[in-house]
Every structure is written in structure tokens, then in C-alpha cells.
């Protein structure tokens, strides 16, 4: 069973453990179940790779743990993430790789069915009931998924049973989910409530307003998700950085040649004093003799002109490597080894910065303290309350960039601006 807090919805949760009760947050709404489920299955990967995922998570935990100064809630959120890990991992392991390939396209069908259920039933109900129903839908999702796996194992063709199963699950678990909500009543979904509160202050089509608000939240959830999955983006980064790395020997070569020319400028003028002793004991000397007189010294302008070469060819790259290899020495002590690792970019840079690798050019406070963007909202009232919850969630979301967070707030601002007349009618 899955339970989400309002914050988590914004946080873009991945594998939340239902057994972990969050002391501060209220739990409830499972609006994002559909999207999440799709995501879950598409993200399935061999169990062996889960460990890596875990590391990733832990790194994140550290990242957000650092921000604990900004409020205790954050710390708890971070901790909860930590606690959540082992269980969810086993969950994933449980859905073994045999199911793995099958799960690729599975959840789309039940998703459709559940949304259908939701839309059908949700037509004429109050917001609260609708909320409850949504939770129920989410449960349906989960159970269908499980059942589905069983079905897979039994090798029953899915298309035929799909809808049936989904509907059946929906109806059977509806009571369960209702119970569940009852049980978790003290932890109410503040955000949804707030949304519905805002909506209820609208004169007409309250449902529409609410669903619009919620839809926006959900959209945001999706982007969060996309960006968290962001493998494709990262691969692009990898490639681009790799090409950069490839070019570096050439750059080094260029640098070397620059240095050479510099040395020439410095030392070339020096007149070498002949040593009388060397003349005396041999007939031959490097000092005596004429030059070939083939070349003339190039003027600085032509030298500069020669230097503007096009991009390095494979010859240049390999020559630079060869030259670099001449004086390449293995590190002679731990310090040199660390220097080398740092140069290669495989050692954490000092001083320790747990935001390494997250270069969106924003400081952490821009991510966290979003109150300043609420200037244009009313100072009090349900909208204010709603927006405060929104920024609270945003401040804890590591997957959105600052720009996206601000855009998200902007959307609400415009939205409420549009609805201003309705609001003022009240």
C-alpha cells in the first residue's frame, strides 16, 4: 500500500515506504499514482543496479540534509527518505527481473481504466469525496499492478483481462482505501484541502477550479519526474564532456608549444659563454662553426599568423599524447596520487561541496527560500495558505531548477490573477 503526503507529491517521491509514518506531514492524496506507476515500471531495472540507485539516493539525502538549518521539517523529510530505502529496495527486488521485461508497457492499460473510473464517479461529488475517491483510485492502481504481476506469472493474456481486473480491483479496494483514509485521518492532505478551499471560494464551477489547480500540481509532478529520470540528459552531458576531455591533450599540446615559444623568447637572447677548456682538448666544438644559412628568423607577426591553426587533427592529438608520455611518472606518494586524481576529476574536490555536479548556477538558498516570490499574492487568506504550501513543497524538491520553480509559482500567480474577478465577487 502506498501513502503519500502532500509534500511528497511536490517532492517527487520515488519509493516511499508505507510503514514509515511521517510525524509532521499529513498523509493522503494519491493523485499522482497513475503517473507514478507508469514511471515506476519504466524505471524498472535489473536488481543489481539498485545498489547504485541507493547510492544516488544517499547522496541526495546528504545534499538535503545539509539544509537542515532551514527547518526541522526538512531534516525529517531527509530522514524519512533514508528510512524508506531498504523497504522499497526489497520491494523492487521482489518484482524480479523475470517480470522486468513484461512490465515495460504494462501499466498503461490499468492507468486508463482507473482514470476512467475516476472521471466517471467523480462527476457529482463534493471535493472531499472526490479526494477520497482519488485515494481509492490510487489503491486500485497498486493492487491491479500486483495482481497483474501474478497474472503475468500465470501467463494469462493481458488484454482481455485488463479492464475487468482494473474495475474489479477498483471496486473491491474502495472500502479499503476509505478505511485507510479513516485511519490516517489525523494526517490530512493539507494541500488538497487548501486547493479545495480555494476552489470552494470560487462562485461557480468549483470542481473545475480545483481540478485545474490540481492538474497544475500534477503537471509539475510530471516535470519533476522527467527531470529526475533525466538519464538522457545526463548521457548527453557525458558525451559532451567526453569530447571535451578528448580535446584536452591537444590543448595541452598547444599550451606546451606556447610555453616552448615563451622559453625561446626568454632564453634565446642569452649569449652562451664559450668555455676555453672545451676548446683546448678537442678539435671539434659546438661553439665554432658556421650556420647553414637556409632560414631567416621569422618576424613575430608571421609567427603569430602561423599559430592560428584550425582544430587539432588526430596527428596533433597523438603527438601531444606522445610528448606528455615522455615525462609521465607514476605518483611517488599519496599526495601526488591525490593531485593526479583531482586532475582526472575522479576525486571529490576540496573543500567539500555536496552540490558538486549540480551546476545550474543557483545557490542553495535560491532553491529553499521561495517566500520572496509570493510578494504578489494576498497577504492572508486561503490563496496565501495554498501558496505557502506550494513553496514549501517546492523548496524541498531537488529535481526542479530554480527557474522552473519560479515558473511554477508564476503560473499560480497568473491563474489567480485571471480568476481575480471571481474571487472578488465573494
Amino acid at each position: 500500500m502506498w501513502r503519500f503526503t502532500a509534500f511528497e507529491a511536490l517532492l517527487g517521491p520515488e519509493d516511499y515506504n508505507p510503514d514509515v509514518t511521517l510525524p509532521v506531514h499529513s498523509s493522503g492524496a494519491g493523485r499522482n499514482a497513475v503517473a507514478r506507476n507508469a514511471r515506476r515500471s519504466s524505471r524498472s531495472r535489473p536488481a543489481a543496479l539498485k545498489g547504485r540507485r541507493g547510492c544516488e539516493r544517499r547522496a541526495e539525502g546528504a545534499m538535503w540534509g545539509r539544509l537542515c538549518g532551514s527547518g526541522r521539517i526538512l531534516l525529517l523529510a531527509g530522514a524519512a527518505r533514508h528510512c524508506g530505502r531498504p523497504h522499497s529496495r526489497t520491494q523492487k527486488l521482489f518484482s524480479t527481473s523475470s517480470v522486468l521485461s513484461a512490465t515495460e508497457d504494462e501499466p498503461t492499460a490499468p492507468a486508463d481504466s482507473t482514470t476512467k473510473v475516476a472521471s466517471k464517479e467523480g462527476a457529482a461529488e463534493t471535493p472531499k469525496q472526490k479526494l477520497l475517491k482519488m485515494i481509492g483510485d490510487m489503491k486500485v492502481e497498486v493492487t491491479t499492478k500486483r495482481k497483474f504481476q501474478q497474472l503475468k506469472e500465470q501467463e494469462i493474456k493481458k488484454q482481455a483481462t485488463n479492464k475487468q481486473e482494473g474495475l474489479h480491483g477498483g471496486s473491491s479496494t474502495f472500502q479499503n482505501s476509505a478505511e485507510d483514509v479513516q485511519r490516517s485521518k489525523p494526517l490530512n492532505p493539507e494541500l488538497v484541502q487548501a486547493a479545495s478551499a480555494v476552489a470552494s471560494s470560487f462562485p461557480h464551477n468549483k470542481e473545475q477550479a480545483e481540478s485545474e489547480l490540481l492538474a497544475q500540481l500534477r503537471r509539475h509532478e510530471e516535470t519533476t519526474d522527467k527531470q529526475r529520470r533525466g538519464g538522457t540528459i545526463n548521457i548527453c552531458n557525458v558525451i559532451s564532456e567526453m569530447t571535451v576531455k578528448r580535446q584536452s591533450p591537444a590543448q595541452r599540446g598547444v599550451r606546451i608549444s606556447n610555453r616552448i615559444s615563451l622559453e625561446m623568447d626568454e632564453d634565446g637572447q642569452r649569449i652562451k659563454p664559450g668555455r676555453p677548456s672545451s676548446h683546448s682538448d678537442s678539435g671539434r666544438s659546438l661553439k665554432a662553426g658556421k650556420r647553414l644559412n637556409i632560414f631567416t628568423k621569422a618576424s613575430p607577426e608571421t609567427e603569430n599568423a602561423l599559430k592560428t591553426v584550425s582544430s587539432p587533427t588526430i596527428w596533433d592529438l597523438e603527438f601531444a599524447k606522445e610528448i606528455a608520455a615522455v615525462t609521465e611518472q607514476p605518483p611517488r606518494n599519496g599526495f601526488e596520487e591525490m593531485i593526479q586524481w583531482t586532475k582526472e576529476g575522479i576525486l571529490w574536490e576540496f573543500p567539500i561541496d555536496n552540490e558538486a555536479g549540480m551546476d545550474d548556477g543557483a545557490e542553495f538558498h535560491e532553491h529553499i527560500f521561495l517566500e520572496k516570490h509570493l510578494k504578489d499574492f494576498p497577504k492572508q487568506g486561503p490563496i496565501r495558505h495554498f501558496m505557502e504550501l506550494v513553496i514549501c513543497g517546492l523548496s524541498k524538491n531537488p529535481y526542479l531548477s530554480v527557474k522552473q520553480k519560479i515558473e511554477h509559482i508564476e503560473w499560480f500567480r497568473n491563474y489567480f490573477e485571471e480568476k481575480k474577478e471571481f474571487l472578488q465577487e465573494i
Binding site: 548521457i235 569530447t243 578528448r246 616552448i260 676548446h279 588526430i314 555536479g357
Partner: protein, 620 residues
């Protein structure tokens, strides 16, 4: 660790502080500590070979490594992506394959593009030519194995990208399989190119020179001139290195070099230090002409204010000190004057050879002063970096041999203690030189410790060294303590001979070795051991020398063991040695014999007599 912190340590660590410690790159584990140069080489390459193995696996089985994400992502820890990302037939895809250095795939794609009638830009074609020329490209109808070979070569290049300091650069010498073949892909593509610029010609010339097709390269150069293009400096450098393969006579070679240099001047190409290095490298193979023309070349460099690199000096030394008459040390001391004044950055792949060849010249000249100067120059600045593992070993081994030859023994010992396991692993020849130096300085009491080192270095089975050690130890009589130590050493050597081989065959006894060991045991008063050695003479059908038997008799006398003395006489008699009579009389005179012993002695007499008479009768 920030560099500014670590750099501040660097002067203290510029040379390893603990001379007994192995290099940092080795594992700190008694079983993984190298004992001699062979294991040192092996272990030093182990890390890199592990890395290459990992790369190979990733390259061969990329489908196992499709989930390579991390948060935060550390690109340098990720494997390089060697599979092309762009599908389909397009110039873009071709360029990607060229960048990934996939020779065959690039050629195939190029052909496909051509068949489809797509025009390919000059730039892309040129970079394809670069690729083909650099790798010396095989035929398009390549067999699988040769393709693999190419892959190997590619991975080797990648490895050098990963900076293997140990691998000596072998680009200059033509690497194995990749000779330039008639009408290979590079030539084919070059021919069908609609337009060619100077770069196309230049890269062809460089590729041809690199892969040993010098004559073709020269023809290509003529074509380039006919097309009124200008070659670049690298191309001229390549052509100059190809000169020895183009002309046979020394003077013709020099004329050709001069022609190329003149062409450079005409085409307004500024020479660089590699140009002059190439000239000097070619002059190395021009005998007397080289010796007379080297100085003007250096003068030309000076006039153009091009600082020589270490390779320049290396070529100079080789030009002037190749022949047997090494009369003067003028050139090398001038070279050292220059080298001492400057600090060097690598500019030429041959730079690394300088210190070794300079030390060789010092050795040949037997000039220890020059060697010290050279060594100072090595220690100066970052010059030590030019000596990688292998070169460091041969450098020090030469230096050490020279020291053994020329220096006082205490100085030699000091050097030996400082450099023995940490800087280099002495070669067998070094140990021989060292033993001779000890002998010359009358410091034979050091031999047991040298023997220990020899065991460490894995030389305990080298017969020449064993003989030398034993003969030095057994040559003279020494004070008792030393004799005891020697006897211990001899016992060691005995076990080396007697280790019946689980893994290797044991060393065969030689007569002299056996004799020396016996003498050493006798002098230390270990009669029983000495006697067991005496018995072995008979087993391997060798004859002990008179000296050995005398020593043994002395020993028997000292330890008052007449039985052994009688046994010796018996042995001598059974071997039919002429000295048995003398020994017998000595035994009779010098030992107090009981009645039984006397009888035994007499019986030996008769035995030997009979054998004598037998032989006499035979002779009759």
C-alpha cells in the same frame, strides 16, 4: 587535495626518502613487492593492464553497461562511449565515427555515402584521411583478425591516452602489422577526392612515412608541388626522417635534407625544434658527413633562436660518440654545460633517451666527473621525470658500473646502499662489477651481505655470479669470524645447488664450486660438512684439487679427526690421484693414529697400489 598544499610538500618528496622502500606504485604487501627488475616491471604495469582489461570488457560488451547513471554524475569515472550514437547514413554519422576512431566503420560509411551520391565536405574527407593515414589503414576486404589487430592497436593508443608512463613510445619505429599497402583505402579515397587541399597531401605524406612507404611519400610530395600547394612543417619533418630510406649514400642524404630545408624556406614554413631533431636524427645515419654537418645545424638553430630539446643533444652525442675512437670529451662537456643551464620540458618523443645515452658516453669515456655532473643535471628540476622505470634502471645500472670501476669503495658502498632497492634493481653485471670492486678494495668481508642481496634479486641461480662469489671467498685465508660467515654463505649456496627442483631444475655442481665450498667449510672447521662435500666429488665424477685436499686435511688436523683424514686419503686413492701418496705421508706424520687407523691407512695404500698396478698393467 588541492595542488597548492601538495605542491608545498614536493621538494621534500622529490626523491624517495627511504632508500629501502619500494616505489609508491607497488602494493604495500610482501608478496607484491618487486624483488628484481623483471618483477618490478611486471608489477608496475599491473594497474594499467587492469585498467585496459576493464576498458576492453566495456568495449566488447557494451550491452552489459547500459545503465551508467550516477547522481552526482562523475564523467571521468564513466566508461567512454565507443558506440556511435547517430544512426543512418549521413555525413554527421561519418564524422562521429571518425571521432570515435572506428576505421572500418568510417570507410564503409564513406563508401555508402558516395554510392548514395551525397557529396562529402572536404573537411570531413580530410579528417577521414587523417584517421586512415594515422592508423595505416588496411584493405577494405579486411579479415576479421586483422580488424581485431587494428582494434588492439586502437586500444593501445587509447591506453597511451590514459598515460602509461612505462610504455616506450614506439610510434617513430614502424609498428608491427601496419605497413602501408598498395592502393589501400587512404590512397583510394585520396584518388577519388573531387578536390584536394594541402592538408590532404600532407596527411598522406605523413601516413606514408609513418608506415614505412618513404618512396611513395616522396612521390606524393612531388605531386603536392605540382599541384602548387604548400606542405606544413610536420610534413617536412616526416619527410626529413624518411631521408635515410630514400637515399643510400651519405652525401646524397645530406643533399636531400638540404633540399627539403630549402623548400621550407621557399614555402615560408618556419622550422621548429622537431625539424632540427629530425635533421640530426637523419645525420646520425650519415657517418662522417653527419659529424661535419651537425655543428652547422646546431648553429642554425641558435641563429633562429630555437632552443634545443634533450633529443637534440641525444642525437648530437650519438653522432659524435658512435665510432670507436672516443678521444675527446669536448662535445659532451659542452652539451652538459647547456643542459645544466636549463630546465627542460618535453618537446620530442626522443627526449627521454638523452640521459641514458649521455651516461653511456660517460661510461665509455670512463669519466666519473662527467657522470657526476650528469647525475646532478638529472636531479635538477623536473628532469628526473624523463627517466621512467625502465630507463631509470638502465641509467643507474650504467652509472653504478662506472662507479664500481672508478670510485673508492666507500663511495661505491654509499651509492649502493642509497640506490639499491629503491632507485634501481642491479643487473647481474652490476653485481659482478660490485664484487670486483670489493675485491679490488680488499673488502671481501662484505660478500655475505652481497650474497643476501643476490638472493633477494633472484640471482642465486646464476652460475657466473655463484662462481665469482665462491672463488672470491675461497681465494684467501681470512680471520675466523669472516670465515664463519663465509661458511654460512657457502652452506646457502650448497642448498641452492641441492634444492631438488619442485619448480625449477637445481643448479649443477661444478668442480670449482664444489672445491670452493669444501675449502670454505674446512676453513671454518666444519669437518663433517666439508667431508660431505668431498664425497660429492665422487658422485659427480669430478676431481678435487690439491688445494682443496690440503685445506681439508688441515681442517681434520685442527679438529683432531684422523678418521676423516684417512677417508680423504682413501678417496684420493680411489680416484687414483697422484697426490694420494703425499697426503698419506702427511697423515702419517701429522696425525696420531691408532693401530686400526694405521692398518686402514696401509690397506688404502695397497688398494691404490693395486689400482696403480692395474693401470700400469693396462698401460702395458
Amino acid at each position: 587535495m588541492p595542488e597548492y598544499i601538495t605542491k608545498s610538500f614536493s621538494p621534500r618528496f622529490s626523491f624517495p626518502q627511504d632508500p629501502t622502500a619500494a616505489h609508491y606504485m607497488f602494493h604495500d604487501d610482501p608478496y607484491l613487492m618487486p624483488k628484481n627488475s623483471a618483477t618490478a616491471r611486471l608489477f608496475s604495469l599491473s594497474k594499467e593492464s587492469g585498467r585496459n582489461a576493464a576498458k576492453y570488457i566495456i568495449k566488447e560488451f557494451p550491452h552489459f553497461f547500459d545503465k551508467i547513471l550516477a547522481e552526482p554524475n562523475i564523467p571521468s569515472l564513466m566508461p567512454e562511449i565507443c558506440t556511435p550514437q547517430i544512426e543512418g547514413v549521413s555525413e554527421e554519422a561519418l564524422r562521429e565515427r571518425i571521432n570515435l576512431r572506428m576505421v572500418k566503420a568510417s570507410v564503409d560509411l564513406f563508401d555508402q555515402l558516395l554510392q548514395a551520391g551525397t557529396s562529402i565536405s572536404l573537411e570531413t574527407t580530410n579528417s577521414l584521411l587523417d584517421l586512415l593515414c594515422f592508423y595505416g589503414d588496411g584493405e577494405s576486404t579486411q579479415e576479421k583478425e586483422s580488424e581485431e589487430k587494428e582494434d588492439l592497436e586502437e586500444s593501445e593508443v587509447n591506453a597511451s591516452e590514459q598515460e602509461t608512463p612505462k610504455r616506450p613510445p614506439q610510434r617513430g619505429s614502424h609498428p608491427f602489422a601496419s605497413r602501408w599497402r598498395e592502393n589501400n583505402n587512404a590512397e583510394r579515397i585520396f584518388k577519388i577526392m573531387p578536390e584536394r587541399n594541402a592538408h590532404s597531401y600532407c596527411t598522406m605524406i605523413r601516413g606514408m612515412v609513418k608506415h614505412g612507404a618513404s618512396a611513395k611519400a616522396y612521390d606524393m610530395y612531388t605531386e603536392l608541388l605540382n599541384d602548387r600547394h604548400k606542405a606544413d612543417v610536420h610534413t617536412f619533418n616526416a619527410l626529413i626522417t624518411a631521408v635515410p630510406f630514400l637515399k643510400d649514400r651519405f652525401l646524397e642524404r645530406w643533399e636531400l635534407i638540404k633540399m627539403f630545408l630549402n623548400h621550407m624556406a621557399q614555402q615560408e614554413v618556419q622550422p621548429n625544434v622537431q625539424t632540427f631533431n629530425a635533421v640530426l636524427k637523419t645525420l646520425r645515419r650519415c657517418g662522417g658527413v653527419g659529424r661535419s654537418m651537425a655543428v652547422p645545424v646546431i648553429k642554425e638553430m641558435e641563429a633562429l633562436e630555437i632552443e634545443p630539446s634533450l633529443a637534440t643533444y641525444d642525437h648530437l652525442l650519438s653522432i659524435f660518440y658512435r665510432s670507436a675512437d672516443l678521444a675527446s670529451s669536448g662535445i659532451i662537456s659542452e652539451v652538459l654545460d647547456d643542459v645544466e643551464k636549463r630546465s627542460f620540458t618535453p618537446q620530442d618523443p626522443d627526449d627521454a633517451k638523452f640521459f641514458i645515452s649521455a651516461m653511456q658516453v660517460c661510461c665509455d669515456l670512463k669519466d666519473i666527473k662527467l657522470a657526476y655532473r650528469l647525475n646532478k643535471a638529472v636531479e635538477k628540476g623536473d628532469n628526473w621525470k624523463f627517466l621512467d622505470m625502465d630507463r631509470l634502471n638502465s641509467y643507474w645500472s650504467r652509472f653504478f658500473s662506472l662507479l664500481c670501476m672508478m670510485e673508492q669503495i666507500d663511495v661505491v658502498l654509499k651509492w649502493y646502499k642509497e640506490m639499491s632497492p629503491s632507485l634501481f634493481y642491479p643487473s647481474p653485471k652490476n653485481i659482478l662489477d660490485f664484487l670486483q670492486a670489493l675485491d679490488a678494495a680488499n673488502h671481501l668481508e662484505m660478500i655475505p651481505s652481497v650474497w643476501e642481496d643476490m638472493k633477494q634479486l633472484g640471482f642465486s641461480k646464476r652460475r657466473d655470479l655463484l662462481e665469482e662469489v665462491l672463488s672470491l671467498m675461497s681465494r684467501d685465508q681470512h680471520p675466523e669470524e669472516i670465515q664463519l660467515a663465509f661458511a654460512k654463505c657457502a652452506e646457502d649456496i650448497k642448498t641452492v645447488h641441492e634444492q631438488s627442483g619442485r619448480d625449477q631444475a637445481s643448479v649443477e655442481w661444478t668442480g670449482s664450486a664444489l672445491g670452493s665450498v669444501t675449502v670454505l667449510f674446512s676453513r671454518a672447521g666444519r669437518t663433517q660438512d666439508a667431508w660431505s662435500m668431498m664425497e660429492r666429488f665422487q658422485q659427480i665424477n669430478r676431481i678435487p684439487t690439491d688445494l682443496v685436499m690440503d685445506e681439508f686435511l688441515n681442517c681434520a688436523k685442527q679438529t683432531n679427526s684422523p678418521d676423516e683424514a684417512i677417508k680423504l686419503v682413501k678417496l684420493a686413492a680411489s680416484l687414483g690421484l697422484p697426490s694420494s701418496q703425499k697426503l698419506k705421508s702427511r697423515v702419517e706424520k701429522e696425525f696420531k693414529l691408532s693401530e686400526n687407523q694405521k692398518k686402514a691407512l696401509e690397506s688404502i695404500q695397497s688398494d691404490s697400489d693395486s689400482s696403480d698396478s692395474d693401470s700400469d698393467s693396462d698401460r702395458d
